[in-house]
């Protein structure tokens, strides 16, 4: 990764914008940015970091630095916010593996007033040289230079010492990432997993041999079962056919015997008829007897009543004639009195007496006329009544005749029925009752057996179907297992291949670790000698298994870490980083923030000479006071461009000015 351009907008003191081109010149690859304390060197350093890794990178690179961890919100230019612009962006143009890319990172405010990181949204875009936007921009940047590995390329003097101390697990992981070991370890693990899968498949297949045996035994058992069931079905079908043949014969026999039943029914019917007729006969006889018994009474009563009526009417008539005889003289006497108008004593009749006589006359006349009327209506027993009585007798006679005829008819029918019943009984007596019962039993049993056999046959057919399906399934399983058995040879070959790949990868890893350690030690020792030429007793640097750096003297002894000054430790750390970068799979610019001034004076000149050789692109952020005239000349000779970082004391904003 080589950076060709850095652009920024509203990044802390670099507001409104920053634009630096990194143009290489004649094999030179050092860029120097000189500035006073507080002018913006560390801010420029963080511009690279945030541009490449965003908030996560910013935090990672500032957590051990003065001021503590920072986030994008801390970097947005206060001046810009004051001016109402809260947008911040960094754009890095870089080249990697011969291809050009542009990485753009922005923060956009979500609110008018910004207080928290969550008030911003961070966006990132990675475009290739054709302007196509690539997916997973953050991941792709990390693949080029992992964030953890970036600490060996982007560093400040103040955090260097830790690399001269025993390594922490984080640092060890970062070193391994730089050296490209994790991917080989993962590959080994994955191939091992593949090997396990193959082993499991082969084991399953081996198990399948016994599975075939078991399945074959199962198949044989099923076959035996199928044969048994088929035989049983055949036997039962034969028996069923025999039973089915026999049933119509028995039914025919029973139908013959059924006539007896009909006769029995007929006999019963006749018997019932006979009983009915006998009842009817009795009723008629009773009726006749009743009529006979009541006859004299009916006749006598009728004549008695007639005689009584006649007698009474005769009495009434006699009384009427008597009344006439008595009343008539009275009426005549009254009429005479009225005519004479004198009483029998000779006295004249007065008006009141006349009126009384008149009333008495009216009463007697009325009585007389009544008696006369009764006398006129005198009756005698009529011929009609006699004829009525005769009619009644004739009716009775007719009834007797009818009843006698009906009785005779009934007797005849009863006689017929008796003879009929006698005939039927005789016929019934001729039928073999025992045989009917036996035949009936036989038919019942045959029907029962027919049902039972049909049920047994259908049950066995069901079992046969089930066994046949199971047989087909078993055959399929056996076929599958046999096919898998054929694959086992291929799996064994693959397993051998996987084992060889693991061996090869382990060989590659071991060899790579050994080779990279050799390179680190060799290059670190070389850098050490260049940077600390004055330490004539220092011989070489070695790396332990956990990547802890050891410094050896020319007698082959390890120089105790405690005996080293801070400056010496920083030289040791720088040497290790130099070795590590040489052994690294990654290629990236080396960006150093304030280094020389931290070293012991005796190393500063050598370090100044060594700076241009620290990488393919070295960006050095230097404090004015770090530079003596000689160091300045040394660096000027080696640099592509020299920039000064100038700050406006009024606005507190900085700008970068190209000096050389």
């Amino acid at each position: 990764l080589i950076i060709s351009r850095l652009k920024a907008k509203n990044f802390a003191v670099y507001s409104p914008s920053l634009d630096i081109q990194f143009k290489a010149k004649r094999e030179k690859h050092l860029w120097v940015f000189e500035g006073l304390t507080g002018n913006g060197k560390t801010t420029l350093f963080l511009t690279f970091i945030w541009g490449l890794y965003g908030d996560e990178g910013l935090e990672f690179h500032t957590r051990l630095r003065a001021g503590g961890p920072k986030k994008a919100i801390d970097m947005v230019s206060r001046q810009a916010i004051k001016n109402g612009d809260s947008h911040m962006s960094v754009e890095i143009h870089f080249e990697h593996d011969g291809r050009k890319y542009i990485l753009q990172r922005f923060v956009q405010p979500k609110k008018t007033i910004i207080q928290y990181s969550s008030d911003y949204v961070e966006l990132v875009r990675l475009k290739d040289e054709l302007g196509r936007e690539l997916d997973l921009p953050n991941e792709r940047v990390r693949e080029i230079l992992p964030l953890e590995a970036s600490q060996f390329f982007f560093f400040a003097g103040e955090v260097l010492q830790k690399y001269a101390e025993p390594t922490s697990s984080d640092t060890r992981n970062a070193i391994e990432k730089v050296l490209g070991f994790p991917e080989i370890r993962s590959a080994i693990n994955d191939v091992r997993y593949y090997q396990k899968e193959l082993t499991a498949s082969i084991r399953e297949n081996e198990a399948s041999t016994s599975a075939i045996r078991t399945e074959t035994q199962g198949l044989e058992m099923l076959q035996d079962d199928i044969e048994r069931l088929t035989k049983e079905i055949g036997e039962r079908r034969t028996r069923l056919a025999a039973v089915v043949d026999k049933i119509p014969e028995l039914e025919a026999q029973l139908r013959g015997f059924e006539e007896v039943r009909e006769l029995q029914l007929k006999s019963e019917d006749r018997q019932h008829r006979k009983e009915f007729l006998e009842e009817e006969e009795k009723r008629l006889r009773d009726d006749k007897y009743d009529r006979i018994r009541r006859l004299s009474f009916l006749i006598a009563r009728k004549y008695l009543r007639n005689s009584f009526d006649t007698f009474r009417e005769q009495s009434d008539l006699d009384a009427a004639e008597l009344g006439i005889r008595k009343t008539e003289p009275l009426v005549r006497a009254i009429e005479s009195l009225q005519k004479s108008e004198r009483c029998w004593c000779g006295n004249p009749i007065h008006t009141s007496e006349r009126n009384n006589l008149h009333k008495i006359q009216e009463i007697y006349e009325k009585q007389l006329s009544s008696f006369v009327e009764k006398s006129k209506n005198r009756t005698t027993p009529s011929i009609e009544e006699l004829s009525h009585a005769m009619g009644f007798l004739n009716g009775l006679d007719a009834d007797y005749g009818r009843i006698d005829r009906e009785l005779a008819k009934i007797r005849v029918e009863i006689g017929d029925i008796d003879s009929e019943i006698e005939t039927i009984d005789k016929k019934i007596q001729d039928v073999p009752v025992q045989k009917v019962r036996i035949t009936k039993d036989q038919l019942d049993k045959s029907n029962e057996m027919k049902g039972s056999l049909a049920s047994e046959i259908s049950e066995r057919i069901r079992m046969l179907d089930r066994d046949n399906r199971a047989k087909e399934d078993t055959k399929r399983r056996i076929a599958t297992i046999q096919i898998e058995s054929k694959a086992v040879d291929a799996w064994r070959t693959k397993l051998t291949g996987a084992g060889q790949v693991i061996d090869a990868l382990e060989y590659v890893l071991a060899k790579l670790i050994s080779e990279k350690r050799r390179v680190i030690e060799s290059e670190a020792s070389k850098a050490l000698k260049a940077m600390a030429a004055r330490e004539i007793t220092w011989d070489k640097i070695t790396i332990s298994d956990d990547y802890t750096v050891e410094l050896h003297n020319n007698r082959g002894e390890v120089i105790p870490r405690a005996s080293l000054s801070d400056g010496q430790k920083e030289i040791l750390a720088l040497s290790f980083i130099e070795g590590l970068k040489n052994a690294s799979e990654n290629s990236a610019p080396v960006v150093i923030d304030y280094l020389l001034g931290r070293l012991d004076t005796k190393y500063q000149d050598n370090m100044a000479n060594e700076l241009p050789n620290l990488g393919e692109q070295v960006i050095y952020l230097v404090l004015n006071s770090e530079l003596t005239d000689e160091r300045r000349r040394t660096l000027e000779r080696e640099c592509c461009a020299w920039f000064t970082i100038e700050k406006d004391p009024k606005t507190e904003l900085s700008e970068i000015v190209a000096r050389v």
């Binding site: 992992p146 994790p182 991917e183 993962s186 593949y194 090869a504 990868l505 790579l512 690294s584 799979e585």
Partner: protein, 58 residues
């Protein structure tokens, strides 16, 4: 320089273990893409595919 070293080592491995350099290189490259989450699915299936691709090769 180091990349060259890696390819040298892979070639050594091929000579020593008979595994093609391409197969080993491809496995390591695939793992790297997953390590940096550019490819996110597990490599297990990929390993099988890579193996099968190299199966027919001498």
């Amino acid at each position: 320089m180091v990349a060259e070293k890696l390819s040298d080592i892979l070639q050594e491995a091929e000579i020593k273990h008979g595994i093609p350099t391409g197969l080993l290189g491809e496995l390591i490259k695939e793992e790297r893409l997953r390590l940096y989450q550019i490819k996110r699915k597990p490599l297990k299936e990929e390993v099988r595919i890579i193996f099968e691709r190299y199966e027919d090769k001498p």
